[in-house]
């Protein structure tokens, strides 16, 4: 088997083979939230691109240049040719870099997925910006919007350089990002979503900002299937708060019910806002997630 040295890799986050496969993939948003700046992303509105979409009846005042004269000759009725309008879409990558993401490769998985989504967006000639949030009270780290293939290096370097640790809840991080961000498109949320806050408001604000939500919950195997028993004192790694648990083994069933309920609630909140939600394990295969699950779920094409 050929060993690829680190120096030959384009980025530490993804190997070259994955990168080459990702370059052929595009994000597939449900809503066509685009910006007026011209781009390669087809907007939902009628436009002036060369790609034909449909016919409609002529209305007085319509531009006569769009009348299909061949049809008029056959049917003796004027029809207007409609063309797709191609506009630029903004893709926002928000990586939860708080301490809770440091457990069992969750943060690593989040950075890899951010790189993958970002690469797909750059290759689709979209504007890509990335944010990471660490500590409450500080501004999120930000990568300014960029576009085009040439911005790949910049994106990967930003993601590779995100520091881990902090206590920034993801819900507050959304507010912090929206204070700086301008533009419609897609927001990719990469977090474990284990926070005491309410997700309804931040998701509403994302929706209002014209961002379609691509939320990915990354949980560690320990969180998915904790193997604990007896009397324990849990310590929150972000804020140091403690919680005493008796007969922890007996509570696992209820824990799983709450975990699944949180998953269900996040999914509903996202779908109600025309968004998408997926929950994966940090140990899940990256290839399976990118090239199988995302395709099957219609996130990418």
């Amino acid at each position: 088997m050929e060993t690829v040295t680190a120096s030959a890799q384009f980025t530490k986050l993804l190997d070259n083979a994955t990168l080459s496969r990702l370059e052929k993939m595009r994000l597939n948003p449900r809503r066509r939230l685009t910006n007026r700046s011209r781009g390669e992303h087809q907007s939902g509105k009628g436009g002036s691109s060369t790609e034909f979409v449909d016919y409609r009846d002529y209305s007085p005042g319509d531009d006569m240049r769009y009348v299909d004269w061949n049809i008029f000759a056959r049917l003796e009725r004027p029809f207007i040719r409609l063309y797709r309008h191609e506009e630029e879409m903004h893709v926002v990558l928000l990586v939860d870099a708080s301490s809770s993401m440091q457990f069992e490769d969750k943060f690593e998985k989040a950075r890899q997925l951010a790189a993958a989504f970002g690469l797909m967006a750059l290759m689709g000639v979209e504007r890509v910006s990335a944010y990471s949030c660490n500590h409450v009270g500080t501004e999120p780290s930000c990568m300014a919007p960029c576009t085009g293939r040439v911005s790949r290096r910049r994106l990967f370097e930003f993601l590779e350089g995100i520091p881990a640790g902090g206590d920034f809840p993801i819900d507050e991080a959304v507010d912090a990002v929206l204070r700086r961000h301008r533009g419609r498109g897609i927001v990719v949320l990469l977090s474990d979503f284990l926070t005491f806050g309410d997700f309804q408001k931040p998701l509403n604000r994302l929706f209002s900002a014209g961002l379609e939500i691509f939320a990915v919950q990354i949980l560690s195997p320990t969180e998915l299937n904790p193997e604990i028993a007896g009397d324990l004192r849990f310590v929150d790694c972000e804020n140091g708060q403690t919680l005493d648990i008796s007969s922890a083994g007996d509570l696992l069933g209820i824990y799983h019910e709450h975990r699944l309920a949180l998953e269900e609630e996040l999914g509903i909140l996202c779908r109600q806002r025309s968004g998408r939600f997926l929950s994966i394990s940090s140990r899940d295969s990256l290839d399976w997630f990118l090239f199988d699950l995302l395709k099957r779920k219609g996130w990418v094409q």
């Binding site: 005491f196 320990t222 007896g230 849990f234 005493d244």
Partner: protein, 625 residues
């Protein structure tokens, strides 16, 4: 309602361990810290109402509860609780186990014997033995044998119980009760338990110093067996009489086969009504010595096998050798009229033998003759010289033992006697008895006829001379001589033979001061030595079969031993045992012992331990597959 008792109340101190248990439990609650990504989910879990449900609260301290229950179980087990049976609790309990022949009777074909049933009950007693209780097992047959000392060692008791076997002998309780009485002098014995099938003598010559719990076992099935065998010489042949008894359960048919020296010579078929007996007569040629064996073959189920075979040894027939001096013409005259009697000295004054079957003499010197039966006439034994004198006055018979073999059918009334034995002053009957004499006929002034047994040889002493009395002219005189001859024939075994029953071998005259080896039917051998008179006695014969007597590896005699006990073969049982002062009835309920409960608490503790392990190791419910 009875409450559990405790053997060792000191074990209650273990309950104090609950205090450190609780203390250590709460000290242990210094929980191990565990870093987790977020408390968000766990906090919502704890806010769930189900977590705070009463049962869940209880489950929080389930470990403490289980450990406390485990400790309580161990403490209770250490206190050795028991469930009282209701009966008086005895610390020392002798158990008498009947091992006589009838205990080998089966209840059904292929079923269990009475002894096995008794063992089963006793095994329960041993299993439920409390730590402060001691049992002593005593096997009872014709004698008593203590199997164990008072012991609480269940293994020893079980081993001893397993080794108990049926002895084909008649049961006799007195020895065992006396042995128990002796044990009661060393330890406090309040109750004695007797396990028997009830086939024991109802009247027992014993004063009970303790309470007897008479546990009567369920009855056995029907039985038929040979209860007696004897033979009487009739001319040149033997008439062999075999008595067969059947139990009361049902009508029985059986075949009876007679074997002589191992060869079958005759057989019979009989049918017995319930509870009846039948006598069968066989005729056997009496030319040579014969070893007879009679086998009973019941057609149906027979609960007892040991009474189906009996043995009888017949001696060689020969004339009786009698010594009578020529002076005793009256006796010689009477003897001449009897068959199979060779009289010495002969009429011509010649002839004699080294030993005689019967010696009748009026000479003091003839007391030294080697005779199996001696009849001394008009001779005062030397050891009676101080007790009685004989004068020449007229004596009169006051009374005599009419059942004595010598005087049977002899009428001594109005016999005139010209010699009078006179007891010395102050001499009573007891003085004669102390000298070993038995008074057969009593005069007004002293004994007239005496009997003395020396080494199994009877001697009869007429203290008056018959020629100085009217006795030779009486009808009873030839009867008297005939009785003496029959006694000699019986002593020599010439007239009749009886089957040897189990128990002790009948004393047998062999070489004096000689060591003999007696081998039992099962091959076990004992060595015994004859006394100065050549009498071999005191040899146990507790098995049915042939006992071989050997001298230096050479067989000198063979004795067939049979059960021959009507009481054992009948399997009849008594409901009450009559002692000297009181009667003891059979208990209607099975003897129940105090039931120890500590194994229950030990098992419960173990189950709690397993439950605790399972509870904390199990996969919690609600987990995704």
């Amino acid at each position: 309602m009875s409450w559990p008792g405790f053997v060792s109340l000191g074990g209650a101190w273990l309950f104090l361990l609950l205090v450190p248990l609780v203390i250590f439990y709460f000290l242990k609650l210094k929980r191990p810290r565990m870093d987790i990504p977020s408390l968000a989910l766990w906090r919502s879990v704890l806010n769930d109402q189900r977590v705070n449900a009463p049962f869940q609260r209880f489950k929080r301290n389930l470990l403490l509860l289980l450990q406390a229950l485990l400790l309580i179980c161990l403490a209770l087990a250490a206190m050795q609780p028991f469930w009282p049976s209701g009966a008086d609790r005895a610390q020392y309990l002798p158990i008498l186990i009947d091992t006589s022949a009838s205990m080998g009777a089966l209840d059904t074909a292929g079923g269990r014997s009475r002894l096995e049933a008794a063992k089963e009950e006793i095994r329960k007693l041993i299993d439920n033995l409390l730590p402060d209780q001691r049992l002593s097992l005593i096997a009872v047959s014709s004698t008593a044998r203590r199997l164990t000392d008072f012991s609480d060692n269940k293994r020893v008791l079980r081993d001893a119980l397993a080794q108990i076997e049926v002895s084909p002998v008649a049961s006799r309780l007195e020895d065992a009760l006396r042995m128990t009485q002796a044990l009661a002098r060393t330890v406090p014995v309040e109750t004695v338990v007797l396990y028997t099938d009830g086939n024991v003598p109802a009247d027992i010559d014993f004063e009970l110093p303790f309470q007897l719990n008479y546990q009567k076992l369920p009855p056995a099935g029907q039985n038929i067996g040979i209860t007696a065998i004897n033979a009487r010489r009739s001319g040149e042949r033997w008439d062999v009489f075999v008595r067969i008894d059947g139990s009361k359960e049902a009508q029985t048919t059986a075949g009876v086969q007679l074997l002589k020296n191992g060869q079958p010579i005759d057989d019979e078929v009989l049918s017995l009504e319930p509870g009846q007996s039948q006598r069968i007569v066989f005729h056997v040629d009496g030319e040579g010595p014969s070893s007879l064996e009679v086998r009973l073959k019941p057609d149906g189920f027979d609960s007892l096998a040991s009474d189906n075979t009996v043995y009888l040894d017949l001696p060689v027939g020969r004339p009786l050798t009698v010594y009578c001096p020529p002076d005793l013409t009256s006796f010689r005259h009477a003897l001449r009229g009897l068959k199979d009697v060779t009289l010495y000295p002969q009429d011509d004054g010649k002839g004699g033998a080294s030993s005689y079957d019967l010696a009748i003499s009026d000479r003091p010197s003839d007391a030294a003759l080697d005779a199996a039966v001696l009849v001394s006439v008009g001779v005062l034994p030397d050891d009676l010289a101080k007790l009685v004198k004989v004068d020449s006055e007229i004596a009169e018979v006051v009374d005599w033992q009419r059942s004595a073999p010598l005087l049977q059918h002899v009428l001594l009334t109005d016999v005139q006697i010209a010699e009078r034995p006179v007891s010395a002053a102050g001499v009573r009957d007891r003085d004669y008895e102390e000298q070993g004499y038995e008074i057969l006929a009593q005069g007004r002034t002293g004994p007239l006829v005496l009997k003395k047994d020396a080494s199994g040889r009877p001697s009869y002493f007429f203290l008056f001379h018959t020629d100085r009395s009217t006795l030779p002219y009486r009808v009873g005189f030839p009867i008297l001589v005939t009785n003496a001859v029959q006694l000699a024939q019986a002593q020599a075994g010439l007239a009749e033979a009886r089957g040897q029953s189990t128990g002790l071998l009948a004393p047998r005259t062999l070489k004096s001061e000689t060591v003999y080896r007696v081998t039992a039917p099962d091959g076990e051998a004992v060595v015994s030595k004859t006394n100065a008179e050549g009498l071999l006695s005191g040899v146990s014969a507790a098995q049915v079969g042939r006992y071989r007597i050997e001298e230096g590896g050479r067989e000198v005699a063979s004795v067939g031993v049979s059960l021959l006990t009507g009481a054992e073969s009948s399997l009849a049982s008594v409901d009450r045992l009559q002692f000297k002062e009181i009667a003891v009835g059979a208990s209607e309920t099975i003897l129940k012992s105090d039931r120890p409960l500590w194994p229950f608490f030990a098992v419960l503790g173990f189950v709690l331990l397993l439950a605790e392990w399972w509870f904390f190791q199990r996969r919690p419910g609600g987990l995704p597959a």
